[in-house]
């Protein structure tokens, strides 16, 4: 790698349009038609993100649900175009976002290996060479030549894992999906992950499992509401994350309590109320006695 970074983003922002969010019911789309100009039309899943990942770094991304972790991986992988800002990636990227995404039910295991390779844009010859080692690692016996619809979910997961980790990329992007298969396979796969992570020149890993972050990463980034809250040593960032989520849980409990006792007149689920309040920076009405109110948003 010639220059000094593996991945660089500058002022990266990703905006989702709410007009085309999927699976809207007829009732809701009519409602939307009526109040066409009211309400928000879009929201920023990520905003103002500037991250530089140096070669050799292994970065863990953590944060609460909806913080933009998966969106960040999708942008880095080139699946989503940034709405503003710049993404630069130096080297071949491989994404292990979901291991079974490209599988076709009618094709055999072997054919699915080749299909996955073609999807990822890997040269046919290279894929042919690797086929045997993928088959060996998956270890599903004669099923490898049967159509995928005859597989058990465990076999599917094993095959997916074997394909995904057989690529040898410069930059590896991982979503937490690697815990698969039975006990024996899990042990084998753990070693394989460590190997792949070691071989890649840079890794970005999203996980809810903090032990993964502390074990495999030498840097961690805490995302909340689409921006970076903390960036640094894994155990420190994990600690911050734990503290924040503990605070959030505390708030849920307070809101739940308030609703039960009738102090909070607002309707809705506590989690949503807290998240909404966090996002807008306003507080939930009457969550606490007048003099004890504090801004809910920033813990």
């Amino acid at each position: 790698m010639p220059s000094g970074f593996a991945i660089q983003t500058r002022d990266l922002g990703v905006r989702y349009s709410l007009r085309f969010t999927k699976k809207t019911s007829i009732r809701r789309s009519f409602a939307r038609l009526l109040k066409r100009n009211r309400g928000e039309k879009s929201f920023w899943a990520l905003r103002g993100l500037s991250i530089t990942v140096a070669p050799g770094e292994s970065v863990g991304i953590i944060g609460p649900n909806g913080a933009g972790k998966s969106t960040l991986l999708q942008v880095l992988a080139g699946i989503i175009m940034p709405s503003e800002g710049i993404v630069e990636v130096n080297g071949h990227v491989s994404t292990l976002l979901h291991l079974q995404a490209g599988f076709d039910q009618e094709l055999s295991g072997r054919e699915n290996i080749m299909l996955a390779g073609a999807l990822m844009g890997i040269d046919h010859k290279v894929m042919e060479e690797r086929q045997e080692s993928i088959v060996d690692f998956a270890d599903i016996g004669a099923f490898i030549d049967a159509p995928l619809r005859t597989y058990s979910s465990g076999m599917r997961a094993k095959l997916g894992f074997s394909i995904a980790t057989a690529v040898d990329p410069d930059i590896l992007l991982l979503d937490e999906v690697l815990q698969t298969g039975d006990e024996a396979f899990r042990e084998k796969s753990h070693q394989r992950i460590a190997d792949v992570l070691g071989a890649a020149k840079a890794v970005v890993l999203v996980s809810h499992d903090m032990s993964w972050i502390t074990e495999f990463c030498n840097r961690a980034i805490l995302l909340e509401r689409g921006s970076i809250v903390a960036d640094g040593k894994p155990d420190e960032v994990v600690a911050t994350h734990m503290e924040h989520s503990e605070h959030r849980k505390q708030k849920y409990r307070e809101v739940l309590e308030g609703m039960r006792s009738g102090r909070i007149a607002v309707r809705g689920r506590p989690k949503q109320l807290v998240r909404e309040a966090e996002r807008t920076g306003r507080q939930i009405p009457a969550i606490a006695p007048e003099d004890e109110r504090e801004p809910l948003a920033r813990p």
Partner: protein, 304 residues
């Protein structure tokens, strides 16, 4: 290691957007660069269709034959139409129509169906509608074999060397179908209504095209249509791309029904000027479809 990356570069920014020509070049490079992927998708597609049914892919040949039989019964028994060698007359148009209808039908949902994949792997989405349309070509080839058999065994009086025009006509239809497929598959991502509507629109289109009728004989069949629509209506019907295509197919396979409607002239060369103009129009549609598809492509992963 060698890796064929079709991704334009590792530099991405919303500010960098290729123009129309760049988009077309990109789509071409993606389609040819990912030939193998398209081949995999086609073989998966064909196997999927064959696996759910007892008779498998034989259905593709049986289906237009049965459809022909239905119209044969409807038109000749119930409506008492008597066109000479009516089965061949119908089959010559129903076969290519079936090809078009199922291509579009598959293409409309080709992108939406791969929702999970699109959100998780970066690959050129053009391959999806392209492979959906290309998968149907094989079926058409089988259909043409049936046509040749019918000509040889049952209707030798119609057979002429002009049957050799079939691949040319099919090529024009392919370009037209592909252009439309790109367009509808991309729009369907944003408005799923397209997928629901298209089935009905295609059925209406079928009856407005000379599939179970023809422009040939003014006595009886076409006379009634002419009367109902007037001159303007008829010229509109003739401007329909499938008026040109289905007439061309019927010209080379069946020939023409004579004025009185009781005889026919055997297979003849198609109207090459009309076909040529349709080819130009189809290329235009393909370019338009490609540009729109490529413009909308970056938003697929977000909307799905």
């Amino acid at each position: 290691m060698q890796i064929a990356t079709e991704a334009p570069s590792s530099f991405r920014s919303s500010a960098v957007r290729p123009g129309a020509l760049g988009l077309i070049r990109e789509a071409l490079a993606e389609t040819f660069g990912r030939r193998r992927l398209i081949r995999h998708l086609i073989s998966a597609d064909i196997r999927r269709k064959g696996s759910d049914t007892l008779l498998g892919n034989v259905w593709w040949v049986l289906d237009p034959l049965l459809q022909m039989t239905v119209y044969l019964i409807l038109l000749s028994v119930i409506l008492r139409r008597s066109t000479p060698d009516f089965p061949l007359f119908l089959f010559a148009a129903i076969l290519p129509w079936k090809w078009f209808a199922s291509s579009i039908n598959d293409a409309v949902s080709s992108v939406v169906r791969q929702e999970r994949l699109i959100k998780q792997v970066q690959f050129p989405k053009v391959v999806l509608p392209v492979s959906a349309v290309a998968a149907e070509v094989l079926n058409l080839a089988f259909g043409f074999v049936i046509v040749l058999l019918m000509l040889a065994v049952f209707f030798p009086a119609h057979a002429t060397i002009n049957v050799l025009w079939l691949p040319v006509i099919a090529a024009v239809q392919f370009v037209f179908t592909l252009g439309l497929a790109l367009l509808v598959s991309a729009i369907n991502v944003f408005y799923r209504d397209v997928g629901i509507l298209s089935g009905h629109l295609i059925r209406l289109w079928f009856f407005l095209s000379p599939a179970i009728w023809s422009f040939d004989s003014s006595a009886g069949r076409f006379g009634a249509i002419e009367e109902a629509l007037g001159e303007a209506g008829v010229s509109l019907l003739r401007a329909n791309p499938f008026a040109v295509l289905l007439t061309a197919y019927r010209d080379v396979i069946y020939g023409r029904v004579n004025e009185a409607g009781d005889g026919f002239t055997p297979g003849q060369a198609p109207d090459l000027i009309a076909l040529g103009m349709l080819l130009l129009l189809s290329i235009g549609l393909l370019i338009l479809g490609t540009i729109i598809f490529k413009r909308l492509e970056p938003a697929f992963a977000k909307v799905l």
